[in-house]
Structure formats: structure tokens, C-alpha cells
Amino acid sequence: MYFPISDTTINPIYLIGLGFVIGILGGFFGVGGSFLAGPALFVAGLPMNFAVGTDLLHIVGKSIVAARKHRVMGNIDMKLAFIMVLGTIAGSEAGVQGIEALKKIARVDLVVGSVAIVILTGMSIFVFLESWQALKLKASTKPIAKQTSQEKDRRAFKFMSKWTQSFNLAPNVELEHSGIKSISMWAILLVSFIGGVCSGFLGGGAGYIRMPFMVYLLGIPTHIAIGTDLFEVVVSASYGSFRHAMNGNVDVLIALIMQTGAAVGAQIGAVLTQFFNGPWIRMAFAPLPLIGALMVVYGLLTGHHLK
């Protein structure tokens, strides 16, 4: 099928299938999926600038579908989401500006790329080890209906979130939906800001960084972290795709075709989270940052950036 805006010919079945797979991943893990969609569009023959912009626009649609589904299932902490959006936007802008500033220094790709590889690989190993340990922990003896969201979500290495929650700098907020009685708003803003900086540095929504940050650093239950992260992805991807469309980097027809598959996949992915507990979801999530690291390695070795 010929797409006149980007002057490309791509099989629509490929786009629907790609959207479907990304949709399932997004609904299940709360990530945008740019680490897979961008390269897959590039491989299909779409120029890189269109691959990035078109991918972001399709992420908007898919994330709205998945976020709505998670909201119905009670997996979005709206108070947390609104606070985090502020930190994420500020962090993303800082990350982008930081990259622009670092471009003036020679070998910036190598420096940023190496740091990214270490962070992503480390995160992948950490998530795997933590979820492995968490699966060995005894589940609560209370009936499921009487368990709090914190009790349902078994977690090892709790000291990290306990430390963040003990950071007592006013104003403090209560995240009732996430089962957190008091946490400094600055801690939430700081964590979301760091996530945003990583997003600005590494490209895409960087949900594969923000979701574990929410679980391990803030102590948010896994299911709520997934839903809340999707809400953030909607906001950041809308902003990003608007900017890309203004710059002529979006083929809306390709995005709409991908969305036909993604809309169905995202609902299936969101529903599937009901059948897995937190540690299993985190265990399945562990390879995702590693994929991001491999893409950075590919970019460094070939000079082609896949995001």
C-alpha cells in the first residue's frame, strides 16, 4: 500500500501485526513500545524521521486505550499521575537540552551511549533478581479481598522505597490508592524528573525506566505503576507527536493503520495483567531494558540510531 505523505510503500498487514504486538506489550507492561516500533518501521522502509514521529502518534492512541482499560480496573493513581507529569515534562526537556549541550563536545554519542548501556543492563539484571527473590517470598495469609494493594504486591528489596518514603520534606502527600500514607511530593517529582531526563537522553517515552522507578523507588504496587505510567505516556507522547507533526515527521495514515491492531492488542494486554501477580509481571518485564541496551549498542557500532 502506498502512503503519499511519507512517499513509502508498506504492507498494511505488517503494520496491523506490528501495532497488535506493541499494543499487547503496552497494555501489559505500561510502556509505549518505541524501542520496538521505531526500528520495525525503519526496517519496513519508512525514513527514520517519519518512523520516530509516526510511532509516537500511534503510541498516543494505543496508550489512551490501555489507560482507559486500566482506569476501569482501578489501576491508575490520578494524584500520583498529575504530580509525575510535571516532573516528567521538566525532566524530558532537561534531557533534550542536555543532549543539545553535550553535542558540542566530541564523542558525545559514545559517552551517553555507554552510560545508557550500563543503566539499562543494570536495571534489567536488578529487576530480574528482585522479581526472582519476590517470587520466593511467602504471600500474605489474609484472604485476597482483605489484602491491601501493598500486601498483594510481594516485593523484595523494600528498603529502597522505604528510604524514599522516609525523605520528609514538605509538602507531603497521601497516595491512598497506592496504599502510601505519606510521601514527600519532592521525592515523587525527583523520581519523575530523573525518568524524564532518561527519556530525553534515550528517546521514546522511556516507560521501561519509569515503571520500575515507580515500583522500586516510590513503592507503588506494580499494577498501579503500569496504569499510572500509561497515563503519563499519553501526555508525553501527545506533546511529542504534535511537535513531530509540526516538523513534518508524521504519516498519520500509517499511524492509523497501526492503531487498528494496537487498539485491540492494548485491551488484551491490559486485561492480561489481571491474571498475573506483580513479581511475575516484573520478571517478564526484565528483558525490555536489555533490548533498549542492545539498540544503543547497535547504534554505536553502526552509526544508525534506531529511535
Binding site: L57, V65, F242, A245, L256, Q259, A263
Partner: protein, 77 residues
């Protein structure tokens, strides 16, 4: 989840998928050339329209599919 009904969910997905495909073909048939024209001559309008089309495809169609399900005998409990 004991109260989860796969049959209802599968029906929802089929209805939703049909609506999404119909929406896309409608856009492709009537708006493809207008979108291309906007892309070359009015980027701001193109950016706003692109976002609205995407949001329309997701939010609008979900509202329509939910409405349709209220009319069906296998509606959600």
C-alpha cells in the same frame, strides 16, 4: 479474576475491531488527499488534525462500542 467473562470480552474485541477498521477505511477514502494537502501547506492544521483523528479513533470508537453493547443481549453485567 473469577468474574471475568472471556466470551463478553471476545465479543467486545470483535465489535471494536470492526469499528476501528471501518473508521480507518472511512478516513482513508475521504480524507487521505486532504491530509496530504494539509501536510504540504498547513503543518499546524495537519498536526492538530492528526492528533484529533487518533483520539477520535480511540475515545470515540470506544464510546460507540460501549453504546452498542448496551443494545446487545450479552451486555456486560
Amino acid at each position: 479474576m473469577k468474574d471475568f467473562n472471556w466470551k463478553t470480552f471476545a465479543c467486545e474485541m470483535v465489535v471494536y475491531a470492526v469499528l476501528v477498521f471501518t473508521y480507518f477505511w472511512f478516513v482513508l477514502h475521504y480524507f487521505a488527499s486532504s491530509l496530504e494537502d494539509m501536510f504540504h501547506h498547513n503543518r499546524k492544521l495537519f498536526a492538530v488534525t492528526s492528533l484529533l483523528l487518533m483520539i477520535g479513533q480511540t475515545v470515540g470508537l470506544e464510546i460507540v462500542s460501549t453504546f452498542l453493547f448496551k443494545l446487545f443481549p450479552w451486555k456486560k453485567k
